[in-house]
Amino acid sequence: MKSIKKILIVAVALLIISSVVESAEITFYGYTWMRYTASETNKKWFGDLKESSFSIPRTYLRWKIKSSELAGNITVDINNVKGGQEIESGKGKIDWAIWIKYCYVDLLQIIPYDGVIRFGMQKTYFGTIDTWEYPLIEKALEDKLKLLSSADLGFGITGYLPDGLGDYALAVYNGSGYKKMENNLNKAIAGSISLIPISGVSLRLSQYISSTNKIGVKKYYATERTAAVLSLSFYPLNSFIEYLTSVDTGKRGLGYSAFLSWTIINQKLEMLFRNDGWNSDISKNKESYDYTYIIGLNYYYTDDLLLQINYQHENYYKSKKADSKQYLVQLKWSF
């Protein structure tokens, strides 16, 4: 019922926008991800499967609206992940959910060099969470670890440096992400700046600060995230390494994500590798890292249909859990 209400709200919003913004160009498109997952926790290859399932974990429906002074984006996220949505705090979880992932309006032509002032539900400008375009099926490291939400409600300024020498973003958010209502008097701040000293080499520094002081609750939590991303793009190789830290009321996390892609045939076939390491509390044990190793192959059947094959190995050093292995095959269809 809630989902139907959300769709109706979006439909009405679109009708209003299209009637108010005379002559705005409206484009509609979407993506859907169809996936097969096989996973196991022991050392045998397909020896003891824990999961063998087909799923459509995500579908995006997107409307983009553009006139000479304004632009907007409304993206509806239809999610089907086991226990992906909490009904109400502590009252259980459901598999299906519909969220508004992005819903923002941009004021154009105010900030030079293609800069925009953005209001609404937008990306969190941090590390690789806003730039990761899923060349591998796994999320960006900070997203996977739930260190911050990939989208949030707020106000932001984004733009580019002269001659395309870099870009910047600064935003103030609720800090609750796009799945929960805000119940917090303090706001989160994210800032990122990237520089390209020479073509193909870019360095991005990001900082995210958030604090919660829930209404009616005295407890105060402060969180801080820092990332530095060095990207190297020398065709046909493309890579980045991200250094990531987190601070949560005394707990200090530290880790990295290293990614490499090799374009074998341009726009047709690529091979990808990723290695993540994460220690959720470095003050307790300096060597207690969990590692992830991913190897993938992307085949672009057409521009609109991408086949992804991934093997993902999780090595939980810290919790001493058995290794987990996943075999994933996914079709990403753009329409």
């Binding site: 870099g166 870019s202 065709y235 046909p236 090799w262």
Partner: protein
């Protein structure tokens, strides 16, 4: 031993694929306004060098620039300047984008030959396309509603009109046509229509459509887009450069790119530019090209 074999196999595959990719034909993609011009240049070049293969396709300036950023083409045709955002994306992707003017275009405002309106100001054209002027009688013509014909949003010509002439948004009544030839075809039969085309297309359209003389403001002199001198010295108000965007590194690395660019900017190439109804580089655009230090 096994590991060594696998590594050698990967390296061999890597080298093989790289060699194969470097031997492919030269791909030029982008602005629809420039398709016929660059096709003519490519044909002349291939006649001179029969072993060379160049493919030229359209899709719009934005599409062409996106293609070069994603390494889907070697040269992007663009009838507008590259945006800061696009330069950033290109640099991030390891490209050094270089914008080279190869010709000058004048955008002609065209009507059906039976339409008595022969002169308009830039402001009036802008107001017509913004939907503020809806009837020909408001600009000295017959009492007939104006039918607007224009290009689709991914076209550089669409952006050029929007930025330089309309200075705002198009009227939602405008009919978006899939190419200049469709505009010309529509105007041949629609006496109430107005459209915009690159001057190169006027020649092919013969007398079936007629260009309107344009003045900057009311009370100022009107200029004909077919008058070469008025376009080159900047009197005719709706002019622009036509660019090709390349990866600077490719000019030295890929001699096919360098040789084709060299041909386009040579005397022979610039003659073809004129034959196709555009204008050879002159004035500020020639200076712009010279400042790039291409050496040709």
């Amino acid at each position: 031993m096994k590991v060594k074999t696998i590594i050698s196999l990967i390296l061999t595959l890597f080298a093989g694929v790289t060699i194969l990719q470097s031997q492919q034909m030269l791909k030029v993609k982008g602005s629809d306004t420039m398709v016929n011009l660059v096709q003519a240049l490519a044909e002349s070049y291939m006649e001179k060098y029969p072993e060379k293969v160049i493919s030229v396709s359209g899709g719009g300036s934005g599409t062409g620039i996106a293609s070069i950023i994603n390494r889907q083409c070697d040269i992007a045709n663009s009838s507008r300047e590259i945006k800061t955002k696009e330069v950033f994306q290109a640099k991030q992707n390891g490209l050094d984008p270089l914008q080279i003017p190869i010709a000058i275009d004048a955008l002609a405002i065209v009507v059906n030959p039976n339409n008595p309106v022969k002169k308009l100001t830039v402001e009036e054209v802008g107001a017509i396309y913004a939907g503020k002027i809806k009837n020909w009688k408001e600009v000295g013509g017959p009492n007939k509603p104006i039918t607007l014909y224009g290009r689709q949003p991914n076209s550089g010509t669409y952006d050029f009109m929007k930025d330089v002439v309309i200075k705002g948004d198009y009227s939602k009544e405008m009919r978006e046509m899939n190419g200049t030839s469709q505009i010309v075809e529509a105007l041949k039969t629609d006496i109430s229509g107005i459209g915009y085309v690159g001057v190169g297309y006027l020649r092919d359209a013969g007398n079936e459509i007629s260009p309107v003389e344009i003045a900057r403001k009311k009370g100022e002199k009107y200029y004909d887009p077919l008058n070469v001198q008025d376009v080159l010295n900047g009197n005719y108000p709706i002019t622009r450069a036509l660019y090709q965007i390349v990866d600077k590194k490719q000019i030295n690395k890929n001699k096919e790119v360098k040789n084709f660019l060299k041909f386009e900017l040579s005397e022979d190439g610039q003659k073809i530019v004129e034959e196709m109804g555009f204008y050879r580089l002159a004035g500020k655009y020639l200076e712009m090209k010279n400042k790039l230090g291409l050496g040709f």
